[in-house]
Amino acid sequence: MSDKSNPSNLPACDSGSGSDQLRVIGTSRRRIDARGKVTGQTIFADDIFLPRMVHCKLLRSPHPHARIRKIDASRALSLPGVYLVLTGKDFPIEYGILPVSQDETALCVDHVRHVGDPVAAVVAREELTASEALDLIDVDYEILQTISDPEEGLATPEPRIHDYGEEGNIHKRVSFEFGDADKGFAEADEVFEDLFFFQGNTHLAIEQHAAVATKDRDGKLTLWTSTQTPHYLHRALSKVLEMPTGHIRVIATPCGGGFGGKSDPFNHEIVVSKAALLLGRPVKICLTREEVFYCHRGRHPILMKFKTGVKKDGTITAMQLQSLIDGGGYGSYGVASTFYAGALQTTTYHIPKYRYQGCRVFTNKPPCGPKRGHGTPQPRFGQEVQIDKIAEKLKIDPAELRLRIAVKPNELTANFLQLGTVGLDQCIRRVVEISGWKEKFRKLPEGRGVGLACSCYLTGAGLSIYWNSMPHSGIQLKLDRGGGVTLFTGTTEIGQGSDDVLAAIVAEVLGIGTNDIRVYSGDTDLGPVDLGSYSSRVTLMAGNAAIQAAERAKAMLVEGVAEKFQVPKERIRLADNCAFDSAAPEKRVTFQEAVCLGESRFGTIGTVGSYTPPKFLAAQYKGGGVGTSPTYTYSAAVVEVEVDPATGWLRIAKIWNTHDLGRALNPVIARGQVEGSIYMGLGEALMEEQEFRRLPEKFSRALVHKFPSILEYKSPTSLDMPEVVTEFIEGPDARGPFGAKECGQGPLLPIIPAVANAVYDAVGVRIDEVPITPEKILKALSDKKAGRAPRFGPTHFPEVHWPEALRVPPPWEGGDGRATNEAPRRPKPRVEKEPVLKP
C-alpha cells in the first residue's frame, strides 16, 4: 500500500522520539489554543477591527426563482455614508468548489435561484447605513416558476435552474454495477425492499460567517475569513478577481464551528475582497444568522430505495441503492455528494454484488453541500435500519448478524475501496458488552427500547478537489538557536484540535512539550498548502507530514549532538527537553543546546514534510475516486430510548458508543470529537430540519425557509444531551501518524439509525424518516392500533430515467477496478491553429 518510491508515503506509525514510551501522544493535555479561547483573546473574523474599516451588506433575492431585468442602485448611492454598490455586472467570472460545477458568481448576474441568493452589495461607513441602503436598491425581477423538490424538478425540465447539468433540472446522475445484483437477488433466500427519507439539515455553527478584506500597503489583497478551506478559496479568488494567487493572502481565522458549512468559497468573501481593492480600505462583512441559513451548503435531503438480498444466515447476496438527492440552487460539493451517497455502503458488511444509482436535482432552495459525514449519514441510516428489519425477519440478533457479515481488515470492497485496519468486530462486541444489550434487546418493558447501529467513515478523501499530483498537506518547521520551534501549515483549526495534534506530533518527535511550539496555521502566505479541514483528513495527512518534517529536523540535531559527544548518532535520544546518549544518559545537553549544535553543523534549520495519499490503483473507473481514503474508521452505538405511547414523546435515556480510531492522540480532544459527533447525530435524529414552505397566495407563493432562526431550527440544548459512555477501540493503523485515524465524523453516523431501531424496540413502530419526531411516532402508533402498517415513512420513489450503468466487476469476479463498458478516456483532440510563421 505504501509507495516506496515516494518517501512522503512512508508509514508513520512507528516514528517516535526513539524512547520506548510516548510522552506526549496519547496523554490528556490542555490543548495549545485553549488559553486563548477561555480568555476571549482568540481573534475570530468578526473580532477584527482595522483603521478606516467600512462595512458591507448583501442584498438578497426575496424570490426563489427569477431573472433580474434591471438593478437601479442610484438611490442607495446617494444615501450619506454609502461608498460603493456592486452588482453581478462587477463579477462576471464563475467559480465553484468543484471544477465540474463552477456555477456561481459572487453576485447574481441575471438569474436568482433561491430566496437569499445575493444580487447586490453595499459598502458603507456604518453597518446600519449599509443595511438601510439595501432597501434603496431597486431590482426589477421577472418571476420564474419555482421548483421545490426533486420530484418537481424531474417533472419540470423548464425553466432550467442552470443551463448545465445532465438535462432539464437534473444536475447529475450516476449509475454503477459492481457485479450482477439481479443474479444476487435471485440467489437470495429473502429480498428486502425499503424506502427511507432523510430530511435536510444545516450546520448551525455558533459563529456566523464573517470576513475582513484589506488592500495592503504593497497593494495586494489580504482576506481574513472564517473558512475551513483557505487553499480552495485562494484559488477561487485568483480566478474571479483575475489576480495572481501569489498576490492574494488568505488567512483562515480560528473558525467558530464549521462542520462543512464553511468549506465553499463564498459570495461575501469575494465581494469584500473586490470592495477592499476598489476602495483602498478594509471592508468587513458578518452574515446575520438568517443569511447563514441561506448560505447553507448543508445535508442533502435524500429519498432512498434499498433492496437487499440475504441468505437465511444473514449473508448478503446483493444490495441495490437508488437515491434521489435534493441539491438546492447550486452545485457546491453536490457531484461529490452524489457519489458519496452510495460509495461507503460496502465498507461495513461484505456485499458481493452492489448496484448504486444516484440522481441529484436542482431546486430553488439554498444549495446543499457537505455536512459532517458528507452524503454518507443518509444511506447509512437506511442501511442500518434495513439490517435491523432483516435481523428481525431472520430471527437473528442485530449485533450477531452484523458480526457474521462484517468486513475484514485490508479487504477490497466491491467498489474497490481499500480498507485498512478494521475494528468493527471489536466495536460491536464491546458496545454490546457495556450497554447490556443482551439483557435489554426485545426485553425491556413497553415504551422502553434499545437500538444498535454501526458505521464506517473515511480518514481523508483520497482525491483532491482539483486534479493534481502534488501533496495534500505540507508542513514547514523552523528551529532556532533560542530553542523555539515554529510550525507553519496550511491546515485550519475549526475546533477539532488540529493545531494541538500537529504540535503534539512535533513535540513527541523532538522530545519537547507542546507548550514549546508555536503553530501558525491556515495562512496561505506563511504555510505550505493543506487542502482544508474536510473529510477528516487533517490528523492523518498533515500529521504524517509533520512527522516527516520533525524527523528531518531531529536528524540534524542528533548529528550535531553525536558529533559533540563523539558517539554514534544512533545512540542519541531526544526526550524531556534534552538530547542524551542512551548508553550513558547523564551525558546530555538541553534541547536548546542541541538546536545550536545542529545549527552550527548544518546552518539554519528549516525542514519540510509533505503527505500525498497512496495512488489508489484499484479504483480506476470513472467516479471511483470518491470514497477512497488512506484508511477507514468504524463505530458502533447502542441508544436506549423511552417513548411515551400517549404522546409519541421520545427521550434518549443513554448512549453507549465505541469508535475504532486507531489511536487517540489527545484523549480529551478525541473524546470531545466523538461526543460532539454523537450530539450532532442526535440533533439530526430528533429535531433538526431545513424545511421550506410556500408563502400564501396573497404574498407571493414564494418558497421560503420555514424557520431561518436558531430558536425555531431546533438543536439540542444542555437539557437534551443524555449520558454518553464512550470507549475508544485503539489498534494503531500504520497509515496514520502514531497509528491515528479519524474521530470527528465517524461517530455521528450510527446514532441516527440506532435511535430509529430503539424506537422500534420500544413501541413497535418503524420511523423510516429523519428526523424521528413525536408526531411521526404518534401517527405510526395510531396506524398500528388501527391495524395498518406500523410505520411512518416514504411510500413512493419517483420514476427516474437512470443512465446506462458503468459495469465494474468486483475483485472476486476477476475485476481490476476498470469498467468493462467505459469508453477509454482520450485526451481532448488537438485543434490545429493557424501557423504562427507563414511560409
Partner: protein, 173 residues
Amino acid sequence: MTQSKLPAESEKTAHIRITLNREVVDVSFAPYKTLLEVLREDLGHTGTKHGCELGECGACAVILDGKPVLSCLVLAVECDGREVETVEGLGTDGDLHPLQDAFADLGGAQCGYCTPAFLLTAKSLLDQNPSPSRDEIREALSGNLCRCTGYLQIFEAVEAAMIEIAKRNKSAT
C-alpha cells in the same frame, strides 16, 4: 465618491458610565446600539460573541449587576451606572479563574466561540450556588448553545471548577 454629509447615526451619540470588570469607564456610542455592540465595537472587548443577535443562542451572555443576561437584548443606554462583567474580567492578578482552567484542561472549549458565554453563565451559577448538582448545571446552562462539545465535558469542567473553588475558599479561611 465623496460624502459631504455624515450619516444620520453619527450625528447623535449617547454616553454612559459603567463599571466594566471592576473598572469605571466612560463610553460614547450611537444610541441604538446594544450592550453587545458597545462592548465589542466601542470598548474593544471582543471576547463577548454574537451568534444570532436575537437572544436565541446565548453566545452574548455577560453578567449585569450580578445576573447573567443576553447582551444582544440589552440596550447600552440601559446600562448607565451599572456593573458589567465580561470574559476579559475573569481571573485575577494574571491568573485564570478556576472555570477557565477547567474548561481549558477538560475539553470545555473546542472552537471556543461559545466559551466566553458559558464561562460567565457558569460563574454566575457558582456565585449563587457553590455546589450545584449536574441537573442544576444543565438547567443553568440551558440558554447557551454549543455545537461542538455535546455539553458533557462542559458539565465536567464546571464541576471540577466548583471543587477547586471550594478548596481555595477552604484554605483561605
